[in-house]
């Protein structure tokens, strides 16, 4: 199965496109942020996948093992996850403030409010 050999990449691409689609297609600001989260998740998989060597072990040097997985992608993605969480937090905080100011988190309703005023 050629296709299944790259299953990680397929999932990455699916998450990437699905997340981006949600961001573009949804007018609800919270849903947009969820889409953004899905989009960012695809990056985690993109980095982690090539770091894993099947049969490789954790990179703690020992005479019993010769094949080690690359630990660097995990560290990078830990950072990226923290960045993602921080982005989500700032985004949600903004949405809360927007809801207070406009009484709505639907983009079209906010747009209508701005342009009637």
């Amino acid at each position: 199965m050629e296709v299944l050999a790259n299953i990680n990449q397929w999932v990455t691409i699916f998450l990437m496109v699905a997340g981006l689609y949600i961001v573009v297609a949804r007018g609800n600001m919270v849903k947009k942020l969820i889409g953004l989260g899905v989009f960012q998740t695809s990056v985690y998989l993109l980095y982690i996948s090539p770091g894993k060597i099947i049969g490789g072990t954790a990179p703690i040097i020992s005479p019993d093992f010769t094949v080690y997985s690359n630990p660097l992608p995990h560290v990078l993605i830990l950072t990226a996850i923290v960045v993602g969480v921080a982005t989500l937090a700032v985004g949600l905080a903004l949405v809360v403030r927007i809801n207070e100011a406009y009484d709505s988190i639907e983009e079209d309703e906010i747009y209508a409010q701005e342009h009637d005023a």
């Binding site: 990437m16 981006l20 961001v23 600001m29 947009k32 953004l36 989009f39 960012q40 695809s42 990056v43 993109l46 980095y47 090539p50 992608p73 990078l76 950072t79 990226a80 960045v83 921080a86 982005t87 700032v90 985004g91 903004l94 949405v95 403030r97 927007i98 100011a101 406009y102 906010i110 701005e114």
Partner: protein, 490 residues
């Protein structure tokens, strides 16, 4: 501590002063911000001098050797950008005391300056680092801080503008990190110098092409290249004055630097740049930016929004320098990066002074301001002339080099377009000046000049507009060395 550690301190000082700022009582926060940004400027100056004297500086964070650990690597190009960011940062912080207290409120003041320092640290970090993933981390530090800085605006539309910027900015940063991830998969390194060395070996593979595309879109979103600029006008128009001045002068410029670093230094050896026709695309988009954004600017009645659109157009000139693709044009682009920061910084600070007195800066409210606030409006005229590109101001210098670059290629039509494009600011700035000098002031207004502190600091940038326009040796020399450094690659 010896001067050896200056590169680390450059980022660490603002980064750690930010939490300190949050801990101190509100009144002190501005003071901390000013002291820190001045200290940062001093450090940058020292680093810049050392780069000019000794060549490339390399610093290993945590003393991990270069390809393994994160390396800070400073050559002529990023030393120049660092100086620009720190310089604008210091001026804007000095300017901002009353403005932030008035627009953000005393209660939130310290959080504002905390975010300001974080944004400063992030921008310096993006510029100084020699590690592709580290760029992403610092980029997000500065971006997250700038979303908050914009959200502090008095107008509720600042919130939606910040949200919009957050969505676009995060998509941009994620595209960028996808590109970096693909490069890492193909080359096994994140160090920029290593990447540049290894990329030619794999340049014909599809992941590298995909990485290239992701990086182009990601960085272009951040630098507000023409069709990807939609987040910028609202974000700049509704943000507090200090935020607008700071971000317009630094954030997009740092993104331009990223663009140069990635596509000239890292991909430079791989010749993908030419292969995928990026210069031609850039050329078209830059011209579109110059004409479309300037035209839109003409029809704005909110002056901040007008200048925000003008920023999109001016970014077009910078990318034009990259698109033309000769060394002279690139020098012009880099000089314009500096010049645009200086003149837009000056304009937004002066407008901030007006906003401090009258609130919203719409054309109607500017009526008769030439007599009420003569020093401020005179500054706007000078910085505005510079934006147009009048000889004797900085705007002229960069356009001169761009035109020369175009001539090197024999593109007369482009020279003509640059000249015509320069006339558009005459129209929109003319509307501002007409309102300020030729319309009668409303009778009831008891308006007077902005505070002396605001005037003096904003005029530093106005004077710089003229100074660097007359004495081009400093900026052009440094910029051509920077262009040289970028071209040389690693």
């Amino acid at each position: 501590m010896s001067s050896l550690h200056l590169p680390a301190l450059l980022v660490v000082v603002p980064l750690l002063s930010a939490p300190l700022c949050a801990l101190l009582p509100g009144r002190l926060s501005w003071f901390v911000a000013v002291v820190v940004s001045l200290a940062t400027l001093a450090i940058t100056w020292a680093v810049h001098d050392r780069v000019l004297a000794e060549g490339v500086i390399s610093y290993m964070i945590g003393n991990w050797p270069s390809p393994l650990g994160i390396e800070y690597r400073i050559d002529e190009a990023n030393a120049f950008v660092l100086l620009l960011v720190a310089g604008v940062g210091a001026v804007v912080a000095l300017w901002g005391r009353e403005s932030v207290a008035a627009e953000v409120g005393r209660r939130q003041e310290r959080w504002y300056w905390t975010m300001y320092l974080l944004a400063l640290a992030g921008l310096l970090g993006v510029t100084i680092t020699g590690d592709a993933f580290n760029v992403f981390v610092f980029l997000e530090i500065s971006s997250l801080a700038s979303y908050v800085l914009i959200g502090f605006g008095r107008d509720r539309r600042a919130l939606t503008a910040a949200y919009q910027y957050l969505i676009m900015g995060t998509i941009g940063a994620t595209f960028f990190v996808i590109g970096v991830g693909l490069l890492y998969t193909m080359t096994g390194t994140l160090n920029m110098a290593d990447l540049a060395a290894r990329l030619p070996l794999v340049e014909e593979t599809r992941p590298v092409h995909a990485a290239f595309a992701f990086l182009v879109v990601g960085i272009s979103l951040k630098l507000a290249l023409f069709p990807l600029h939609l987040w910028l006008p609202n974000a700049y128009a509704y943000a507090p004055s200090v935020t607008t001045a700071f971000l317009s002068a630094t954030a997009t410029k740092v993104a331009v630097y990223m663009f140069l670093r990635f596509f000239l230094s890292i991909f430079g050896g791989a010749e993908l740049f030419e292969l995928l026709a990026l210069p031609d695309i850039l050329l078209v988009l830059s011209l579109a930016a110059i004409f479309a954004a300037s035209t839109v600017a003409i029809f704005q009645s909110d002056v901040k929004r007008m200048l925000a659109y003008s920023s999109v157009a001016q970014i077009g000139y910078i990318t034009l320098g990259i698109g033309i693709g000769t060394r002279l044009a690139l020098t012009g682009g880099i000089v314009h990066l500096f010049n645009h920061a200086v003149m837009k910084g000056a304009l937004f600070l002066l407008l901030g002074g007006i906003a401090y007195r009258i609130g919203n800066v719409t054309l109607d409210r500017l009526a008769g301001l030439g007599r009420r606030m003569p020093v401020t409006t005179a500054g706007i005229v000078i910085a505005g002339l510079s934006l147009v590109g009048t000889p004797g101001t900085v705007g002229f210098v960069s356009k001169w080099y761009l035109a020369q670059g175009a001539l090197e290629r024999g593109w007369w039509w482009l020279v003509a377009l640059i000249v015509v494009g320069s006339l558009l600011p005459v129209v929109y700035l003319g509307r501002v000046i007409e309102a300020a000098y030729f319309r009668p002031a409303p009778a009831d207004s008891a308006l007077h000049e902005a505070t002396p502190q605001m005037l003096v600091t904003a005029w530093i940038l106005v004077v710089a507009c003229v100074w660097f326009g007359l004495d081009t040796s400093l900026t052009v020399d440094v910029a051509s060395r920077a262009a040289e450094a970028l071209w040389r690659g690693q």
